[in-house]
Symmetry: C2
Subunit: 124 residues, 2 copies
DNA sequence: TTATCATTTGAACGATTGTTCAAATGATTA
DNA sequence: TAATCATTTGAACAATCGTTCAAATGATAA
């Protein structure tokens, strides 16, 4: 966390009255910093088109790694690296059947989050 | 877009029958690649705790840049850089009053998207 | 056992990101 | 006009990210 230089304490913009109260109330309602870090980390998973494409592949049913790779026209290795991140964020599950690993969506939050994003894009 | 090396065309995992149909149907339901890029770009904005904190500051009411900077204990410059990204994604608006710029949330999608994220974190 | 297949993993690379610093606008006041 | 304030902008930097390549697991079959 960097040290503040430009921002004076308690007053800025030469108006002091309103700002004090504002700062108090905002600070009170702000969630714990740890939650905000986790939140940013979650959205970082969605912040790559490859991972979003992987999630879309899993929308309908579970798919094995090499099928995902073929669908996205990518190497199995690259897909596997991204699946690792998706697993870490608990966005996908996988089960092993012999040599093959089938991946699927962990829950419905993926669909709702992506749905909200598309809504923002199309309505905005 | 990199060239596929590992993934064979049409068959993989030594099972060919089911996969062909799957690939067809997934390819048909996959959104346009441009939409997926825009979607990833949108979530990239949420993928940083500083920007999420800025959005939280704006949850209640419009706030000027130096107040945001003070609330987050950051330089005005750093905040301004991030506000630029938020503006570019149409997540915040701003209006100028004299020398001061007040920023506010552009619409309710910000709250719903962040809400979904928190839900995923707390329920998972 | 050996061989092969499906997947994972680690290191390396260029590309992107967030912050800092200094300089440049934009707007008000003297 | 000049001076000051609030904010923006550009360049630079370390840090992080996504892919590639090669090597390592994990599991099945010969």
């Amino acid at each position: 966390m960097p040290e503040s230089k430009n921002a004076p304490l308690g007053d800025c913009c030469e108006e002091t009255a309103v700002h004090e109260d504002l700062i108090e109330s905002v600070r009170a309602d702000m969630p714990d910093i740890a939650v905000l870090y986790d939140l940013a980390e979650l959205y970082r998973i969605f912040a790559d088109s490859t991972r979003i494409r992987i999630l879309y592949v899993l929308f309908e049913k579970e798919v094995c790694v090499c099928d995902i790779a073929e669908l996205l026209n990518m190497t199995v290795s690259a897909v596997s690296h991204q699946l690792r991140l998706l697993r870490g964020a608990h966005l996908v599950r996988f089960r092993r059947v012999g040599k093959v690993c089938f991946y699927s969506l962990a829950d419905d939050h993926v669909k709702t989050i992506i749905g909200q994003g598309i809504e923002h894009l199309t309505e905005g």
